[in-house]
């Protein structure tokens, strides 16, 4: 990770630059098109009418490993896709950084780990990551059938890399999907994501 001393604020300028709209709960989720692990184009708006989960992923990150080596993430993928939810895993690691994989390596990993996302989006340029301001692996988002973002944050309420914490954790993705599918608003709709930093190229 590059290091910087805090950059001193600019004197005299007072309007913050307008950032590209990131993903804010309650607002439309930014649309995107991205190539998946099988070379297929995936467009978010093609899934209008369904719930979509985005899962930021880095197979080398200890926090990601916590949820894969325990089988927790695969269980979520299996349970929720069985209920019609679209699960898109996103890899924003730049080439040469931790977690960067080729589509073939990713398919091998999915098979080895018995992971069953709907698709894995190969975002090594970081476009999708920056569009959603994804911070960590994991970092989870839920988008409702109308295309609005209804959850942004952590996978659960135990910000550790220790798999033994999973049984006592509240899983925000499961809780959010359960509420949303039951027609209720999500109680914890925005939480602090935890994990490794996403390994962007910049």
């Amino acid at each position: 990770m590059k290091k910087f001393r805090y950059s001193l604020a600019t004197v005299g300028v007072f309007a913050l630059a307008t950032f590209a709209l990131a993903a804010r709960v309650g607002e439309p989720a930014p649309d995107f098109t991205s190539v998946d692990n099988n070379g297929k184009q995936q467009k978010l708006s093609d899934y209008r009418g369904k719930y979509v989960v985005l899962e930021w992923h880095n197979q080398g990150c200890p926090y990601t490993k916590k949820h894969y080596e325990s089988g927790n993430m695969q269980r979520l993928q299996k349970d929720w896709t069985a209920k019609g939810v679209i699960w898109l895993t996103v890899i924003s690691s730049a080439p040469g950084t931790q977690g960067f994989v080729t589509p073939a390596q990713e398919n091998e990993y999915l098979q080895k780990m018995n992971a069953v996302p709907t698709a894995v989006l190969m975002d090594s340029g970081g476009t999708l990551g920056h569009l959603y301001a994804a911070k960590t692996t994991p970092h989870m988002y839920i988008i409702d059938p109308r295309g609005n973002l209804i959850y942004n944050g952590a996978i659960d309420d135990h910000p550790t890399s220790d798999g033994s914490d999973i049984p006592k954790s509240k899983n925000y993705v499961s809780a959010g999907l359960t509420e949303a599918l039951g027609g209720k608003p999500i109680t914890d709709a925005a939480t602090r994501p935890y994990g490794c930093s996403v390994k962007y190229k910049d």
Binding site: A9, L16, G126, A134, K135, N152, T160, R192, P193
Partner: protein, 305 residues
């Protein structure tokens, strides 16, 4: 007994910090200093000679500001000596990472206070990511409160044991842990010359209380907070470190406008902030490196066009 250090604001504000803060004062000649420490401590054949533990990309040791247990409170410190480029995290780690956690096993009646967190550094790794933490070398001081009445059993040393867990990162992150131990004999003469400089230097990096004559207020706009500081003099440079996550957007630039009696700083709101904010707490670091604990209450938002 054991006590887990509690993160965030409770722990932060109950502590007593020294008044004076100076610009960054790195510990020079660390190797020589540590060698001297080791020589002095070992030659004195005291008990206060915890050996550093080699861990992944760092050495870590438990140090004491005192050489003996006199019945007064002690100050211990967890000393992280990291390889170049590696870092650990502040109590608010920012966008990723995790602060160290300490689980103490102390002699009967002793209790551990909260970590005295030095002012952090900001580490920005991309336009959308910024973390807060410490590079190279940091001492995390923890007060150990002695019981009101302490039973001394002859010359038997008392053991202070710490189970420490932390996350250390450079390009990648590694969770690690160690059990650290220090034994201190009963005694009266308890100033530890071997660690005095390290503890004193570290004290200078702790944020000071907010000066009584200064004022801070927070105004909420659509996308930003404006933090207005009245210090009675212009502030040309400042940086705000939020104590709590999910309030301000960590990687966004903080834009400062100098005012005759201070400054106004625009802070972009966090995407994760879903409710109005009553207070904004954190550490304000000025251009000269001085650091202050800030707690600004929100004023009614002006009508913004």
């Amino acid at each position: 007994m054991s006590l887990r250090s509690t993160p965030l604001e409770d722990s932060f504000y109950r502590e007593t910090f020294p008044r004076k803060i100076k610009p960054d004062m790195p510990i020079r000649n660390l190797a020589a200093f540590r060698l001297a420490t080791w020589l002095i401590v070992s030659s004195m054949s005291l008990y206060a000679n915890a050996q550093p533990v080699q861990v992944t990309h760092a050495r870590v040791e438990l140090l004491s500001r005192q050489t003996a247990v006199s019945g007064k409170d002690l100050m211990l410190g967890v000393h992280f000596m990291m390889e170049k480029g590696w870092h650990i995290y502040w109590v608010n780690p920012g966008d990723s990472g995790q602060p160290p956690s300490f689980n103490w096993h102390l002699p009967g009646g002793f209790t551990a206070g909260d970590v005295h967190w030095p002012k952090p550094e900001r580490m920005q790794s991309s336009p959308t990511l910024a973390d807060y933490g410490y590079h190279d070398d940091v001492l995390l001081m923890v007060p150990i409160h002695a019981p009101a009445a302490m039973a001394i059993n002859g010359n038997l040393a008392l053991s202070f044991i710490l189970d420490a867990k932390w996350l250390i990162c450079r390009e990648v992150c590694i969770p690690d842990k160690a059990q650290l131990k220090i034994s201190l004999p009963p005694g009266t003469d308890n100033a530890n010359s071997a660690t005095a400089k390290l503890f004193a230097d570290t004290e200078k990096t702790l944020p000071a209380p907010w000066p009584r004559t200064w004022k801070a207020k927070l105004e909420s706009q659509t996308s930003n907070f404006v933090l207005t500081i009245d210090a009675g003099k212009p502030i040309n440079k400042a940086f705000f470190f939020p104590l709590n996550p999910d309030q301000i957007d960590n990687p966004s630039p903080q834009l400062l406008r100098v005012q005759p009696r201070g400054a106004a700083i625009a802070l972009r709101k966090s995407e994760l902030l879903t409710k109005p904010l009553a207070r904004l707490s954190g550490v304000l670091v000025l251009g000269d490196g001085s650091a202050y604990r800030l707690d600004a209450s929100s004023i009614a938002a002006k009508a913004v066009k």
